[in-house]
Symmetry: D2
């Protein structure tokens, strides 16, 4: 069980010098945004100039979705017992899994498989999409990234796709998920592409590894969790029973930028 020196390629620390992926952190500060630094930390390179705006929008799109997601309910429940803020954040993060947030990961599987089939067979994406929809129907499986329990047209999806177009990122990933959505719709089941499906397509077009799909959602949602935990701590009495369905919004009225 001997130990050898182990290696890391992320951050280099020397006295009075911190370098993230080779760049001085005090050079990055003031010149790149937090979202760009996230990309640098995870991918090892700064994002190509064009996509910075898309990247920001992807993170903004998932920052919060109100009080009903289970990660929010669990984090608020922990907070109401007197948990410290970091413990309540951890509870929220631990509640982001296959059935909540995980659609990004699963939808990447579907899109990747579709693209591979198209590449191997030379078939049009729309034909491959039709086959996949038919196969899922036979196996009675849901296709991740389509449908939403509240939205019939997810407002975040079209915005992300429009920004991807503007940034010149829109590629096969978006085409594939759109093809699948159309093919499913043609069978009489008109489900919208939800924000998870949209992000799945974009992560593929941005060549971000699938292993980081869940991480992407977690990084985006942590600030939302913090906002809910802080609201719970400052606004509610301890040890209340939280019925996630029984709430009202009393924040700022609808307003425009």
């Amino acid at each position: 069980m001997s130990e050898k020196t182990w290696k890391t390629a992320i951050t280099q620390i020397n006295p009075n010098e911190v370098r993230l992926r080779g760049y001085r952190i005090d050079d990055l500060m003031g010149q790149v945004t937090f979202a760009q630094a996230i990309f640098l930390a995870l991918r090892g390179e700064l994002p190509p100039p064009g996509i910075a705006r898309l990247l920001e929008a992807m993170l903004v799109s998932s920052i919060d979705h109100g009080v009903t997601p289970p990660s929010t309910v669990a984090a608020r429940t922990a907070a109401s017992t007197g948990a410290m803020l970091n413990a309540a954040v951890a509870v929220g993060v631990l509640s982001i899994n296959r059935y909540h947030g995980g659609a990004i990961h699963d939808c990447m599987n579907v899109i990747t498989e579709g693209l591979q089939r198209a590449a191997e067979s030379g078939e049009l994406l729309e034909n491959v999409a039709r086959d996949i929809v038919a196969e899922y129907k036979v196996e009675k499986k849901r296709i991740a990234g389509l449908g939403h329990r509240i939205h019939t047209a997810d407002p975040r999806t079209e915005k992300l796709f429009a920004l991807a177009e503007e940034c010149g990122v829109a590629g096969d990933g978006i085409d594939m998920i759109r093809g699948i959505q159309k093919a499913l719709s043609a069978t009489g089941k008109n489900l919208p592409i939800n924000v998870d499906g949209a992000i799945a397509a974009l992560l593929i077009d941005l060549e971000i590894p699938q292993a980081l799909a869940n991480a992407f959602f977690i990084m985006a949602r942590v600030p939302g969790l913090v906002a809910h935990i802080y609201e719970e701590q400052t606004r509610e009495r301890p040890m209340r029973r939280i019925n996630p369905s029984d709430h009202e919004f009393d924040g700022p009225k609808a307003r425009s930028l």
Copy 2:
């Protein structure tokens, strides 16, 4: 134990409409950065135009600090047992506490107390600072936010203060911590203001509640934790014994933006 409808002021969800603090999320997407959306989620309003760049830099400054911080060691240890990514992130978040990250919180106490004393007594900040340093010396307590186990001049601090100056944010918070640093130095103990001390001063000048100090560090550090967990998962064998001191950097060579 009756339950009444409870209230939330963060996010309003209606079919095909998601509003964060009153703004449509699809309007925010493409127009504000992730860091600006974080500020909106936590404070309820978008950051004043001038400070956006400072805010990005504050988050960038704390994104990672290599493999030795205990949150990184703990997260990598969990990852090496086969933990899922979100569980390893939770482990890292749970390891951010009083003695790691918590200096921001504790330093805000010192600065706030100093500012209150100055306001009440009409004394100059430098005199108040000298008193505080003397009192801590008598009580043999360390002043949070000063000194670093590796850096004798924390490169992140001066950059943050310079940006604060540019943004017109630099206020009493920065003056106070600088006063304390000078007063301590005059006693023969020349410790630099570290990044936690700098952020503490800025959070005060930005009027962000102290209860969110730890949250600020957590939000900034989660992407760094993700990078380390992913590196552990893809580069190391499972169940290795991790000696935090025994590592080498083999990432990109020093480079400039």
Copy 3:
């Protein structure tokens, strides 16, 4: 930041030999119960023969309390998102805090203070108890360990006190909490000693450090959390909204040992 060899006094590992607090673990196996081994691990010595039965009962008393405690709700919420069992357990453990489980810790404060006052002043416990109740009334503070949102007479309390009597453990801790309960009752507020209050008194009489009070509750409750997580995983559909108030019991009918 040099590292020296550090010390541990819990378990000694040599090839083919594991010793817990000096005893071979394969000698302990078959001769001591799990509860006795827990005591040995935490206190460094095996429990005195008489108290083993009391110790078992203390742990049994807190093993579960149905689906409404927030640790159970949070653990089930995480499980319903597809969390792995250990992650859902962690969520439950993170939801055991000051307002849930923490009454043991807080009640130990009250009892300890009462006993100290009595020792210093030579006053009768009942007089000290009356003073404490009066002081809490003036400060409008609740006394931890008294009252229960469901039980008007906590069935676990009297059983624990009876067993303590049998084991010869019943000491000043029990007398003090009983005195406080009576004094409060005399003011017209007849609240029962709840299971947390009973355990607080027993931990004092057993000389278990207060720092382990919360640990005691956690160790006892983990199996209950596991049972709920497993039930959630095997019986409910994923991503359901869990209203803690809206449930029915459909397990075994009332039965006797």
Copy 4:
């Protein structure tokens, strides 16, 4: 998204009455041990009289294994940052996964598959074991439950098997893992059955579902984690770098019961 009343079969709460799987908890207290109550909570029935001693021994066997297991290292690392006890326990629990503790789960797969093959083919267990060992060799896979990085003969294994024999539990599970160990040994690779392999065999012979294998290890190890966290909190300075290899035991000298 309508909500219906949901069901639970674990614990029934009525005013002044708590029933675990049908039994009054105040009847269980004083009559059954903690380990027996754990079995009742998880399986729905009290353990058959004979096996109580075995059950205690299984839990005792895994209560602690010194400072090098990653769950202990991670929990101590969190504790050294100032984490609350429950947060440090959660960190430890989150570090029990496939490569640490998970051997129980994986070994149950091997044993179950072996027993199924034997049942279907009518072959002798020793022949099935030989086939399985040969197949793993071809696929260059390790067999979970065999071998230990420290012990060449795991002292816990033989004790557990001896107790199982005494209790009349020893069945096909033990025979199968022993057969596999012998078959592997015959190929020149003499690895001992480790404690995980022994518990895997016993869980099968006790008909405890595989989904609870990891839970079993977690429940047994939580007290050990608590002991280490408490030792870290009371004995070490905050924010130390923990090298898991560099420690000494300074607890009680070797002693007998």
